[in-house]
């Protein structure tokens, strides 16, 4: 995973509550078996509206996405994060994020920053009125800063997430350092108490499809 330090760039405003992952990437685009290539389909339906922020060339190259509360709700599809990554988004700044989506962001080195509703109002205003404004999100310092006008806020982040992001650590390698604990747990546990999925196929010979 890539290391995250500080990101500075323009912010594109997605000024809606409860943006669900079906909007971020519709199900019909989940058929790919790769992790990339989803960017062109991000917000596909909303992009049909010429007024939608992502259609405005002024936000091209934005690395920060501004949003409201409960962003990323609904489906667990990590494709939603891959799609945002495909758009070049490195930081999401909003009031709140859905639990699974937030985990998926961290797994991909994308930072989610939670600020108050008033702070988001302020940033939305800036992103709309002066879209060229440079915003800096510094993970080490845990701050969001609007370059040039002195506006600065700090944010909270889970220390473990911060640690992982700053170092770009791969979760699986980290956990595999605990393999002896895992083995120990497996030995302590009464294995017979868990149902085994190692069962043979039951092809339904009577199987007949409807037409």
């Amino acid at each position: 995973m890539r290391r995250f330090s500080a990101v500075s760039g323009r912010a594109v405003p997605i000024d809606r509550e409860n943006v669900d992952t079906d909007q971020i990437i519709p199900a019909r685009h989940l058929k790919r078996i790769e992790r990339d290539g989803y960017g062109p389909f991000a917000f596909e339906a909303w992009r049909r509206d010429p007024e939608f922020a992502l259609n405005d060339p002024v936000y091209e190259g934005a690395t920060i996405m501004l949003t409201r509360s409960n962003f990323g709700s609904g489906s667990s599809r990590e494709h939603a994060v891959w799609a945002l990554d495909g758009l070049g988004i490195e930081v999401l700044v909003g009031v709140s994020f859905a639990d699974i989506f937030k985990n998926n962001c961290f797994q991909n080195g994308i930072l989610t920053v939670e600020l108050s509703g008033e702070d988001i109002d302020h940033l939305m205003g800036i992103a709309r009125k002066t879209p060229q404004t440079e915003i800096v999100v510094d993970l080490s310092a845990q701050t969001v800063e609007v370059v040039g006008n002195g506006w600065k806020r700090s944010f909270q982040i889970d220390p473990f997430h911060k640690y992982r992001l700053l170092r770009g650590l791969d979760d699986i390698s980290m956990t595999l350092e605990y393999v002896s604990d895992i083995e120990g747990y497996e030995q302590r546990r009464d294995n017979a108490s868990l149902p085994s999925t190692a069962v043979s196929p039951q092809t339904n010979v009577q199987w007949r499809s409807n037409h």
Binding site: R32, A45, S193, P195, T197, N210
Partner: protein, 489 residues
């Protein structure tokens, strides 16, 4: 000492590593000089063991690819079960799949299952079906377990008193490689439903009422434990329905304490403990329910006796109203939600003040991991028996698994549906998410027993109203929403 909640009991028995253990290890390592001080913040979340990992074709290909690249095996193939459900066709399965991308995803999970030694309930396996239906059906889902799947409706399995939650594909890879997950312990929330449900009021209406009350992010960061008389009186399949939609309230998972009904439902299922181990299993399971003196982080209580059948009118599952109501006037919507209500009404093409019962529908979908079980089939069949789908309405029933389908055929339910003009399909997710050809055309309006009414969920431009199977069946017959309580009176 205060008692523990069901969540805490499951959590604590699954901790593989926690910061507390780590403190001791760090001291030991530091003495040996092997650890740099900066390593591994002590605040890291617990490492939890996963007892059952369910897999499907859409969220797993990248995970297996990751394993392959790193040269890692699946740690516990014997605790991993795969199926195909999301994009399988529900018609003409013996013909080549018309969608090459879906066909490829199905091929890929077959290859991965074989290469990594994972059991797959494949498209022609009698037990194939929606991942959250087949786990309980086969007896794999058991009280006190930790269960994950790359799918948000994994919360369904919580109906058995197991901690079950959805994860993303990177976490799927993590579980495949390590059989564990690092997770922050969620907060606990008790949702108590008192009283008794009236006739025609279902588990679907209970969860829609809860989501309407607490909102689509009301459960964020929490595991909800559903309690109270109404929940105790629900059947196991109804409890699964309630837990299924926990994610629609933003919760991490839903839980219901196991009781005699749970054990009764499980007994004799293919992978439930056999008679020899049954007594021991019961003894363990009976320890699980939340202690009387346990504390929840948050508690709410609602009266089930006053609940009525719900219909969603908007584009999130909290935007709903009882069937005797009408589309809200914007001035009656809370200020913070007005803008999204306005947007939803425009998308749904609905005018404020319209009575719910006057909304005409084009399509009916009965199925999904929410309402695709045998009791749902029975409930819907009872409403349509001897009647016919209204002119201009196209209606389909998609059983949740191959075994549900077979049982419904044996019970004569399929004949009832077919005689009433419904299409009777093969098992899969189907029009719940529209990855296969079962989709709404732009502008079409459906009464659907699934769980999400998001914009475009059932097809681009499609308009979804979430209802119970009874309400969907009644709407199919009438051609518009009706109060099912009047039909069964």
């Amino acid at each position: 000492m205060t008692g523990k909640t069901l969540l805490e009991k499951i959590w604590e028995t699954h901790i593989v590593d926690s910061p507390l253990q780590e403190a001791a290890r760090r001291d030991a390592l530091r003495e040996g000089g092997a650890l740099d001080d900066d390593n591994m913040a002590g605040e890291r979340p617990d490492l939890l063991y996963i007892d059952l990992h369910l897999i499907h074709e859409v969220t797993s290909p990248q995970a297996f690819e990751g394993l392959r690249r790193a040269g890692r095996p699946v740690r516990r193939p014997d605790l991993t079960l795969a199926t195909v459900d999301h994009n399988v066709p529900t018609l003409a399965r013996d013909q080549p799949n018309p969608d090459p991308l879906s066909a490829k995803q199905i091929d890929v999970i077959q290859r991965n299952a074989e290469e990594f030694g994972v059991t797959l309930f494949d498209i022609f396996d009698a037990r194939q079906g929606i991942v959250h239906i087949i786990g309980p059906e086969q007896g794999f889902t058991q009280p006190g377990m930790t269960i994950v799947c790359g799918d948000s409706h994994t919360s369904t399995h919580g109906a058995f008193g197991s901690l079950a939650f959805g994860i993303g594909t990177s976490e799927v890879e993590h579980v495949l490689a390590t059989q564990t997950l690092r997770q922050t312990r969620p907060k606990t929330m008790s949702v108590e439903i008192t009283g008794e449900l009236g006739p025609g009021v279902t588990a679907k209406d209970v969860i829609l009422a809860i989501i309407n009350e607490i909102g689509v992010s009301g459960g964020r960061g929490h595991v909800i434990e559903y309690r109270g008389k109404v929940i105790r009186n629900l059947s196991m399949e109804e409890r699964m329905m309630v837990c299924n939609m926990s994610i629609e309230a933003g919760a991490r998972a839903g839980l219901i304490a196991p009781d005699e009904k749970t054990f009764e439902y499980m007994r004799g299922r293919p992978h439930a403990p056999g008679e020899d181990n049954w007594g021991g299993a019961l003894e363990r399971w009976r320890q699980l329910p939340t202690d009387d003196d346990a504390q929840f982080d948050r508690e709410i209580s609602m009266d089930g006796s006053s609940m009525r059948p719900f219909v969603t009118w908007g584009t999130n599952p909290a935007q709903s109203v009882t069937v005797d109501g009408h589309i809200p006037h914007l001035q009656d919507v809370a200020k913070a939600e007005r803008e999204s209500a306005e947007r939803a009404l425009a998308y749904m093409d609905l005018a404020p003040g319209t009575p719910i019962r006057e909304i005409p529908i084009d399509r009916v979908f009965i199925g999904s991991c929410t309402n695709g079980r045998i009791e749902d089939m029975r409930a819907a069949a009872a409403v349509v028996k001897g009647k016919h789908v209204a002119r201009g309405v196209s209606a389909m029933v998609v059983p949740g698994s191959g075994l549900v389908k077979r049982q419904a055929e044996e019970e004569g339910l399929a004949d009832i549906f077919i005689a009433a003009g419904f299409e009777w399909r093969d098992a899969g997710c189907s029009m719940c998410l529209g990855m296969n050809p079962d989709v709404l055309a732009p502008g079409e309006r459906s009464a659907s027993t699934s769980n999400r009414n998001f914009e475009g969920r059932q097809g681009p431009g499609g308009r979804t109203h979430l209802v119970s199977p009874q309400m969907a069946a009644a709407a199919a017959v009438a051609g518009h929403f009706v109060d099912v309580r009047e039909m069964i009176a």
